[in-house]
Amino acid sequence: MDASEVEFLAEKELVTIIPNFSLDKIYLIGGDLGPFNPGLPVEVPLWLAINLKQRQKCRLLPPEWMDVGEHPWGPGGSGLYLDLPASSVPDQERKEETFTPVPSPHYMEITKLLLNHASDNIPKADTIRTLIKDLWDTRMAKLRVSADSFVRQQEAHAKLDNLTLMEINSSGAFLTQALNHMYKLRTNLQPPESTQTYSLT
C-alpha cells in the first residue's frame, strides 16, 4: 500500500466543522450528511471538511484529543483513553513496553491534514506537531525492537495491539520480506533431492 492510500482511508474519519453556508441534508452513497446551517457545528468526513476549508466555506474544530493542556482524567481513568490530550500520550508511550492505545486509529494522517490545511483553527499547532512526531518515533522504535526480538527468537506468531495502519504499512514490507527469507533458510534441508537428477546414461 502507498502512504497516500492509507491517507485516503483515513479521510473517512469524522470531524466537526462550523460551516458558513447553508445547505439541506445531502444523501451520499456512504451515508447522509446532515443539514448545514451557518454557525452550527456539524460532523462530516475529513475529506469534505478539508475541501470546504480550502474553499473557505467552513471553520474546523480540532478533535478532542488534539489538545495540549492537562486533562482532568488521568491515565488511570476508566476507559477514557480516547480522550487523552496529545501531550501526555508520548510520555506514556515511552514508559510502556507494549503499544499503548492511540488517540485515534489514524492520528498521523489526521494531524498532517489538519495542520497543513487548517492550522489557523488549531491552537498550538507547532507543539502538537512536535508531540505527534515524538509519538510516531517512539512507536516506530518499539515496532523495530519487537520485530527484532521476534526474529531473534524465531517465533512463529506475534500479536501486536494498538498499531495503526500507517505504521504497519511503513515497516511491513521489509518485515514480511525478511521473514520470507528466514523461512526459506529454515526449511532448506527439508525438501528431498527432488527434480534435479541428471542421469548420464
Binding site: A3, A178, N188
Partner: protein, 332 residues
C-alpha cells in the same frame, strides 16, 4: 492498471501465447541451455525492445561471459577476468531494454507486488534461498557463476588440454587424472554432481567451513559479507544440494547469521533518508541489499507523503519512458 495504453494491451495479447511456451520450456529443460541462450531466451520472451541493438548487446555480453568462463575455469576469480562485471552490465542492458519496451508482462504473475503496477519491468525474483534456484532469475544466474573447489573422482578424458597447468598433460589423450583439484562454477558442479556416478566430490569453500562459522556465531555484524562472495546466502543454500556431512551446521549457521544481521539492516535502512548509503550497504550481500532497498523504499514513500509530494501530480514513469523512446528515435 489504468496507465496501460492501447499499445501495451496489444503486447499483452501477443505475449500471452509466448508465455505458455516459455513456462512449458522452463519446466522441462532447466540447465540444458548455455547461460547465454538462457538469458537471450528470457529477454526475447519477455520484452519487445524497440531498440533491437540493446537486445543484441545484452545477449552478446553474456555469450562473451560464457566463452571466457569455459577457458577460465582454473583461474581464481580476483586474478582472472572479472566475468561478473560483464554479466552485470548485461543485466543493466536488460533493464534498459525493458524500460524502452513499455509495460511488459511479468513472467511470474504470482510474485507480482500489488502496488507496483506502474513499473515497466518486473524482475523474476531469486529462488536461490529455497530448494531450487529460479531458472529465469538474473540474480540466480549471477549467483551460480561463483566458483566452488571440487575434486574430480573419475578421470575425465581429453579435458586435460584446458588445464595444462594442473600437470595433466602427460597422457596421450590428455585426460584429467582422478583426484585433480579444480574450481568449477556452481552451475557446472551441480550439473555434474550425482550420487550414483560419483564424478565429483565437492569441498566447502572457506567461508562455509568450521572456522568462519565460529566467527559468524560470535558476532555476525562485523563480517563483510560482500567480500565473502556477494551471494553468501544463496550460494550457501545451493551448497546444501551436495550432501556434505556438515550440511546441518551450514544451514544453521546461515540462518543465525541472517538473524544476527537483521537488526542492523532494519535500522540502517529505515533511518537514513536522502543520505549517501554506500557506506551502509558496502558490507551487505546481495540478498541483504535487496532487503535494504525495500526498507529504503518504505521510508522514502512515507517521507514523500509527509512532505506532501504524494498529492502532486507528476508524469508517470511509463509516459516518461515513451517520451524518451520517441526522442531517441528522432536522433537515429
Amino acid at each position: 492498471m489504468e496507465e496501460l495504453g492501447p499499445a501495451s494491451t496489444r503486447q499483452h495479447a501477443d505475449l500471452s501465447v509466448k508465455q505458455e511456451a516459455s513456462m512449458a520450456g522452463e519446466a522441462s529443460t532447466s540447465g540444458y541451455f548455455t547461460r547465454g541462450e538462457r538469458l537471450g531466451y528470457r529477454l526475447r520472451e519477455n520484452f519487445r525492445p524497440t531498440r533491437p541493438g540493446l537486445l543484441h548487446r545484452a545477449v552478446t555480453l553474456v555469450q562473451i561471459t560464457d566463452f571466457i568462463d569455459c577457458f577460465c575455469l582454473s583461474s581464481r576469480r580476483p586474478a582472472g577476468i572479472d566475468c561478473s562485471g560483464l554479466a552485470s552490465q548485461a543485466r543493466e542492458s536488460e533493464f534498459e531494454a525493458g524500460r524502452f519496451a513499455g509495460a511488459a508482462r511479468p513472467s511470474h504473475p504470482q510474485t507480482l507486488p500489488p502496488a507496483a503496477m506502474s513499473e515497466a519491468y518486473f524482475p523474476v525474483e531469486s529462488g536461490a534461498l529455497g530448494p531450487e534456484e529460479n531458472f529465469l532469475s538474473l540474480d540466480d544466474i549471477l549467483m551460480s557463476q561463483e566458483k566452488l573447489p571440487v575434486r574430480v573422482e573419475k578421470p575425465m578424458p581429453r579435458l586435460g588440454a584446458f588445464f595444462l597447468e594442473r600437470g595433466a598433460g602427460a597422457d596421450s589423450d590428455q585426460a584429467l587424472p582422478q583426484g585433480t583439484k579444480l574450481e568449477f562454477p556452481l552451475w557446472l558442479a551441480k550439473g555434474l554432481f550425482d550420487n550414483k556416478w560419483r564424478i565429483l566430490s565437492v569441498e566447502l569453500p572457506k567461508m562455509y567451513q568450521e572456522g568462519w562459522r565460529t566467527v559468524f556465531s560470535a558476532d555476525a555484524n562485523v563480517v563483510d559479507l560482500h567480500k565473502m562472495g556477494p551471494h553468501f546466502y544463496g550460494f550457501g543454500s545451493q551448497l546444501l544440494h551436495f550432501n556434505h556431512p556438515e550440511n546441518t551446521s551450514i544451514s544453521q549457521s546461515l540462518l543465525q547469521t541472517f538473524i544476527g544481521r537483521f537488526r542492523r539492516i532494519m535500522d540502517s535502512s529505515q533511518n537514513s533518508y536522502n543520505e549517501d548509503t554506500s557506506a551502509l550497504v558496502a558490507r551487505l550481500d546481495e540478498t541483504e541489499r535487496g532487503l535494504f532497498q525495500i526498507g529504503q523504499k518504505g521510508l522514502n514513500d512515507f517521507q514523500s507523503w509527509e512532505k506532501g509530494q504524494a498529492s502532486q501530480i507528476t508524469a508517470s514513469n511509463l509516459v516518461q519512458n515513451y517520451k524518451k523512446r520517441k526522442f531517441t528515435n528522432m536522433e537515429d
